[in-house]
């Protein structure tokens, strides 16, 4: 398969302050993260708040510049693109945010909000063409009757409908890659699957690649199907591979802990839930990450080496994983 996007050894440090009079401190939001997205592929990035998944999304869309590392889009370094190439990149890589209410201007109708990017990126010449194109797209995403939705203001729509509007906005400029940052976490449960199905449809019909950013492994499993999953912890990738292989035998102790925390729909499983396989539930401060393996203070398997040496990502069982004790970690069962 062709590589659409290649993220190579990205670091992102933010300047933080430790106290009023202290010197600036570097907070590593992302440390040495690499990722490849093929054309037409769906990748899920999993992690809790503060793991850097949103920062990675912003870097990939070019909204935030990385401190170090390179990003190649269609084999071109995005930092060295010409203006035309950059515009094309900006058009082809779109983002869908978590809070659909915040992502739409409350004082503009849906049509007004959606026509501008299309005209700006010269997808259409004028308002009339924009309207025609949007009518087609609204049909496609199920925002019907089309006329009514175009006239509405964001507050008149339900969360699921607004999220559809955001997906339409991304779709309207002909993207090749959509970064969806927690697109369903604020949407009612009964509507989540319908939105995920819509994203799958966009993936199949138009070959659009997706980076699906979430903390919810169950929805990730639902949408990714044949694609990859990357698990992040405190700014680092800890396990990355084909979703099916990874979930069939999750290896990283952090991933195992995440899995055990997810509420099960199967009541027999959910009633016999064990205690979380963690020493502590509190996430360490990213400004002051633990020495050695970043997960070691919370890991129930941690040994001396984990405190001393930071594990590298190495290949094992058809995936890459960053854990010194990978061989010793017991198999996970649901």
């Amino acid at each position: 398969m062709d590589t659409l996007l290649k993220v190579k050894n990205i670091d992102k440090y933010y300047k933080g302050k430790d106290g009023l009079f202290q010197t600036n401190k570097q907070v590593g939001a992302l440390v040495d993260v690499s990722l490849e997205v093929n054309k037409g592929e769906i990748i899920a990035l999993i992690g809790e708040s503060g793991c850097g998944k949103t920062t990675l999304g912003k870097i990939v869309t070019g909204l935030v510049e990385p401190t170090a590392g390179e990003i190649f889009y269609n084999s071109k370094d995005i930092a060295k693109m010409t203006k035309t190439e950059r515009n094309q990149f900006r058009r082809e890589v779109q983002m869908v945010h978590q809070d659909s209410y915040a992502a739409l201007n409350p004082s503009r109708t849906i049509f007004d909000s959606l026509k501008d990017p299309m005209i700006r990126h010269k997808v259409v010449k004028n308002k009339i063409e924009a309207r025609k194109k949007l009518e087609e797209l609204f049909e496609l995403v199920g925002l019907t009757p089309v006329d009514q939705f175009m006239k509405k203001y964001p507050h008149q729509l339900s969360g699921g409908q607004r999220q559809r509007v955001l997906l339409t906005r991304a779709l309207s400029v002909g993207p090749k890659l959509i970064i969806a940052d927690e697109p369903v976490s604020m949407v009612d449960v009964s509507l989540r699957i319908a939105l995920l199905d819509l994203m799958s449809k966009m993936n199949k019909e138009f070959g659009i690649s997706f980076i699906y950013i979430t903390h919810d492994l169950a929805t990730a499993r639902y949408i990714v199907k044949g694609g990859k999953i990357g698990v992040m912890y405190l700014g680092k990738m800890v396990e990355l591979g084909e979703l099916e292989k990874v979930l069939e035998n999750p290896r990283h102790p952090y991933l195992q802990a995440l899995l055990s925390a997810i509420p099960a729909v199967d009541i027999e499983i959910s009633r016999k839930r064990r205690e979380l396989p963690l020493k502590s539930v509190e996430m360490p401060n990213p400004a002051n990450p633990p020495q050695g393996c970043r997960f070691n203070p919370r890991c129930i398997y941690a040994e001396d080496i984990c405190e001393k040496k930071e594990p590298e990502l190495v290949e094992s069982r058809g995936r890459v994983i960053a854990c010194h004790l990978e061989e010793k970690i017991p198999k996970w069962t649901y």
Partner: protein
């Protein structure tokens, strides 16, 4: 009231008086709560969960108004208590942890001050030292380090720690019933699982009765005894948690379970519920769920379904529930 019922909600109707007309957020909702049980209230936004839980404390805020109904706690109808007696009831008999409560703390008070302030509002005789000791014990129950936490300001704690501190705070006056409104929404999955572990422990230790609302049915599955499913201001089904998950009788309940992605089952079993949640200002003539329902028959379009008792513990509000049963148990993997 049955012997072991601690709370009895009868025919509560709440309307929001708006310029464009009255919006009925709760329509004749009845619910008996047994001493010591955990009830899960499941429903989407706008289904009336929060309105129902606020009604129990009589804190429905304007423009909302309780139009009808009674809420019995022992031999008291809460809706008829004067403000002084209501303040004795709130927090001392029933306390509530609100949605996003982790953001509800006063940023310029320490956690200890929060405890003292709360007790001061509800008790006449107390000593600060006593309160601090009790607070320390409760913080221990929610697995926080009292020495550190009591002296901290809210911003010094993480979201999950604040939520746990709020749970401890809600217990400072020894309430019999604890209401939790979306207690883990906006928290990470691990924190969520941890808070449920703690709540289970508290339930055992203190013999608390709990009412817990959530929009995600799988979240309460691990601890609730019974689940009430709400839709458009009504309870459409209520029964024990196992029946809700394995053999639901209401099409909406079944739809919700089928629409929740899981880690283990065959993905092809998952199916979305079509359509969107109803607009409470323009409810259909017949069953509120009819426009989205795959079991809808002619009767559903013009007659509202009454509550049907399948057995003593199982109520469903559906004309065509036999058809839902005929579809069989929800299959797994």
């Amino acid at each position: 009231m049955k012997v072991n019922d601690i709370l009895k909600i009868e025919d509560i109707t709440v309307e929001f008086i708006l310029d464009s007309g009255n919006l009925r957020a709760l329509n004749k909702v009845s619910l008996d709560v047994k001493q010591g049980e955990i009830i899960g209230l499941v429903g989407e936004s706008g289904s009336g969960k929060t309105t129902l839980t606020s009604s129990i404390l009589n804190i429905v805020s304007r423009p909302g108004k309780i139009m009808n109904g009674e809420i019995w706690y022992g031999n008291k109808n809460i809706l008829e208590l004067d403000i002084n007696r209501l303040n004795q009831f709130r927090w001392k008999e029933v306390s509530m942890v609100f949605q996003a409560a982790q953001n509800a703390m006063n940023p310029i008070l320490t956690i200890q001050d929060h405890f003292i302030e709360t007790v001061a509002a509800h008790e006449k005789n107390y000593s600060e030292e006593e309160v601090a000791n009790k607070a320390a014990k409760l913080l221990g129950y929610v697995r926080l380090n009292p020495e550190r936490v009591l002296k901290s300001y809210p911003h010094e704690l993480s979201g999950g720690m604040r939520q746990r501190a709020i749970i401890a705070l809600s217990l400072i006056t020894d309430p019999k019933i604890l209401i939790l409104d979306e207690p883990t929404t906006a928290l990470d999955v691990i924190t969520q699982a941890y808070i449920f572990e703690i709540l289970k422990e508290l339930h055992k230790k203190l013999n608390l009765t709990m009412i817990m609302s959530t929009h995600d049915v799988s979240v309460v599955g691990s601890m609730a005894d019974r689940i009430a499913v709400m839709y458009a201001g009504e309870i459409v089904e209520i029964t024990d948690v196992f029946t809700i998950f394995n053999n639901p009788h209401h099409p909406y309940t079944r739809g919700l379970i089928m629409a929740t992605p899981s880690l283990t089952d065959d993905l092809n079993n998952r199916k979305a519920i079509k359509g969107n949640p109803p607009n409470l200002m323009e409810l259909p003539k017949g069953c509120n769920f009819a426009p989205r329902c795959e079991y809808c028959i002619a009767k559903c379009l013009d007659t509202k379904p009454e509550a049907t008792m399948i057995n003593e513990n199982h109520m469903v509000r559906c004309h065509n529930y036999e058809e839902v049963i005929a579809r069989g148990h929800i299959t797994k993997s």
